[in-house]
Amino acid sequence: MTQSSLKDIFVLIKQVPDQSAKAGINPDGTIDRAKAKRMLNPFDRYALQAALHTKKHYGGKVTAITMGPPAALEIILEALEHGVDCGYILSDKRLAASDTLATAYALHKVIKYIGHFDLIFCGLQTTDGDTAQVGPQIAERLSLPQTTYCEDFRIEENKVIAKRVVEGGYEWVKMEIPALITVANSYHHLEYKSFRGARMVQHLLRNEEEKNKYIKTITLDTIGAEPAKCGLRGSPTIVARTDKVSEIGGSCKIHQGASQEQLVSEIIQSTNIKEFLKL
């Protein structure tokens, strides 16, 4: 079945504030990550699925890599439940307030530190920063061929043939391995967690020693990164101001207990649909 076989697949994931909860905002306009409820970046779910598909079809071991506060362990555990083999958490106070340049620098150092890889998968972008820059920057720093907005791919004769979404159509890209792919959200949904993965996670949570074998927490010193290039110091981006556009949510009124005609007319009266109808 496997025309090509792979050894190491990396997937870069990030913990972001939960969209369904209200995020805490620091006085300086940055997001207070400690206060906000957290979740796995929804775009990374596609990257995770791509990595697990690759493992299933071409073999190899999937390593999930994340950068963030210690709570990021949660998403590494989630990734393990879905079938990832091991994880790395880069956690260091000196990384606080990193922009994409500093993040990509730190992550490329992590990748170099871990060593051999055939493919790196990234999500398209995150829901907190929305830049879609980290993946491509890492590829540049590692001098890797890259395909962004990848919707589908296969591996033949040690080359990745990737289908890339472009305006008005698709582009087929052929790349040498090793390569980096950012996965579009039109790729397959992440499959439900596996029983075996859920069992593994519970086993690790019971056993600290075993956990440290599968999940490694590393710092800037471990990977030999220059602190000056990380965090606020290494970030040329300045958040000048954060404006609140509008409050999400609000009150919901349920119309009920009357005939359909009456309910529809009540809804029309209570909204400004009339204005649209005039147009």
């Binding site: 029983f195 859920a198 009920q256």
Partner: protein, 578 residues
């Protein structure tokens, strides 16, 4: 090559019976220092979120399992300080005097619970216990459901968690093996054991319970008050009634339980609950309140005579609702479900200590259950349900007449008058016979028939239901109710099988001719079943994303053409707080 997933014990279903088993087994194991591993598999996303119950319960098993429960944040809604059994007329309410009531209906001293919270609490307590005992491994699997029981010859060797086969047509990588598998489900899965070993001489008979929790206006406080009612709005001869439990923080439980052995093919339990709420007495309670949650579930009502021949087969044990220990005489089952787990734990512990997993050893389980309060109380109430089934006059004739007296004159006068104006000999005979059966005098074995076999398609309801003025916002349509069950499903969900679509087309045509809905459409508690029209033919369709997984459709389907399976991916309603 992946390793085989193996445990000493699998518990199927994270409900009160399985958690009682796990707790007692842990307590015994911490004394005897035995080592074992256990997996608890539950289809809902969180432990407790598929659990819906009344619930007024005797805490006798909780007291045994957790002597310190009062000081360890046990979630309790209140202790019943006053209870009534009432007959509702269309407008009035009559509280039946205590001396006329069987003791089982007097609930003073019992606890008012939200069972979902109790289950979640038991889960957290178990996690705590497990972290203190290094000899025992407990893995919790909420969000996973068992789809198949694995047999080897006549032995249960484990369960399969993922549905279907993988890409290569191989068995999926989710077979979980165990020395013993315990089933505490409502029969979604354990029915395969019942069928394979032909364990039920009498079929299980079912009722469906629908329940709402309301937040009342701040000046209304019914905490500790418990009502069970008969009469309005069930005027079609169906066995059942309503219940109102006052909870703390000005909350109120309003529910109905309706037996599915009704002749009426169109019970529509959720709408009957809305009718119930239209009673002036209840309208007054819920005025200015708001509905918080809605849920539905089926209840095994057969009791003593529906108990399986064996409570354990090689490699498997049945607990709680899988066994069918609900006590209709006391309108309770939680304590008995927990007790079955408690007794199972003792038998299992002995099996682990002696390393004896023989069929003979597990015979003790039935013996222990039948010698416990479960066996004794179920035996006493063994004809309680049957008494109403064997004599349709009780619900078709006398009850409506009592309702009239409740509304129009004096119910005591009615009790005296009804025999006179009907046939005194028959009426007095009926009363004595009812009392005789409810008191447990022996009339030998009885035979139940399956619920759907009672359905009379051209059933005519003689008595019209008269409803009063009510606040329009206090009643909800069925689709609106689904919103309050907070259902959430994964993409591609298909958890109800329809075996033969032609059978459904024929059934729909038959009921169309009678001007009625099919039982699946009308009795669904969550607007799942519907009629679609394709090229002029009326066919059966399902909106599975609405399903609250009560299983009523399967039970009432006159053609036995539906099968409700457990959902996967943690899908379904969210009953936390019910």
């Amino acid at each position: 090559m992946l390793d085989k997933i193996e445990y000493d014990l699998i518990l199927v279903g994270g409900g009160p019976s399985c958690f009682a088993l796990a707790h007692h087994l842990m307590d015994l194991a911490s004394k005897s220092n035995i080592k074992f591993s256990m997996a608890i598999i539950e289809k809902s996303k969180e432990f407790g979120s598929h659990v819906v119950s009344g619930a007024v319960s005797n805490l006798r098993v909780i007291e045994k399992l957790f002597p310190d429960y009062k000081s360890s944040e046990f979630p309790i809604e209140g202790i019943c300080t006053a209870s009534w059994f009432s007959v509702l007329g269309n407008k009035e309410k009559w509280d039946v005097p205590a001396f006329l009531l069987p003791n089982g209906l007097k609930k003073e001293g019992s606890a008012i619970l939200s069972l979902s919270h109790v289950v979640y609490w038991m889960y957290n307590k178990l996690k705590e216990k497990a972290s203190k005992n290094p000899n025992v491994v407990i893995d919790f699997f909420p969000g996973f459901s068992v789809h198949k029981i694995l047999f080897e010859g006549n032995e249960v060797i484990g369960v399969q968690v993922t549905e279907g086969s993988n890409d290569n047509g191989n068995e999926p990588d989710s077979n979980v093996y165990a020395k013993v598998t315990c089933f505490g489900d409502k029969g979604f899965i354990s029915r395969d054991i019942i069928e394979k070993f032909n364990l039920r001489e009498n079929p299980q008979i079912w009722s469906v319970g629908v329940k709402e929790v309301w937040q009342l206006s701040p000046e209304k406080d019914y905490a500790g008050k418990v009502w069970h009612t008969m009469g309005y709005p069930l005027v079609d001869g169906s066995f059942g009634g309503g219940f109102i439990y006052g909870m703390k923080d000005n909350k109120l439980t309003i529910g109905m339980v309706i037996s599915l052995d009704s002749e009426n093919p169109n019970i529509n339990p959720q709408q009957r609950l809305q009718d119930y709420k239209k009673h002036p007495w209840i309208q007054d309670m819920i005025k200015d309140g708001k509905m918080l949650k809605y849920g539905a579930a089926v209840l095994p009502e057969g009791g003593y005579f529906s108990l399986p021949k064996k409570f354990a087969v090689p490699g498997a044990m049945l607990l709680g609702d899988a066994l069918g220990v609900l006590d209709i005489e006391r309108l309770s089952g939680i304590d008995k479900g927990m007790e079955s787990g408690y007794q199972a734990a003792e038998v299992l512990h002995e099996a682990f200590v002696k390393n004896d997993f023989s069929e003979v050893h597990f015979l003790k389980y039935k013996e222990k259950v039948m010698n416990s309060f479960i066996g004794k109380e179920l035996k006493h109430g063994r004809y309680f349900r049957y008494a109403w089934q064997e004599n349709p006059r009780l619900l078709n004739k006398y009850l409506p007449e009592v309702m009239d007296y409740v509304d129009n004159s004096n119910p005591y006068f009615g009790l005296f008058m009804i025999p006179l104006v009907t046939n005194p000999i028959i009426a007095i005979y009926d009363a004595i016979r009812l009392k005789y059966l409810m008191d447990g005098y022996d009339i030998g074995k009885i035979k139940y028939t399956l619920d759907y076999q009672h359905i009379v398609p051209n059933f005519k309801q003689e008595r019209k239901l008269e409803t009063n003025n009510y606040i329009k916002e206090s009643v909800y349509s069925r689709p609106d109710a689904v919103f309050f069950a907070k259902t959430k499903y994964h993409e591609g969900n298909k958890h109800i099988d329809e075996f033969d679509s032609d059978v459904c087309v024929k059934c729909i045509a038959d009921y169309d001719e009678l001007g009625k809905d099919t039982p699946c459409v009308s009795d669904c508690t969550a607007e799942v079943h519907r009629i679609d029209i394709t090229s002029g033919i009326r066919i059966h369709g399902m909106s599975l994303e609405n399903c609250v997984q009560c299983r009523t459709c399967e039970i009432v389907c006159p053609e036995v053409n539906l099968r409700v399976k457990p959902t996967s991916c943690g899908s379904g309603p969210d009953y936390m707080g019910l």
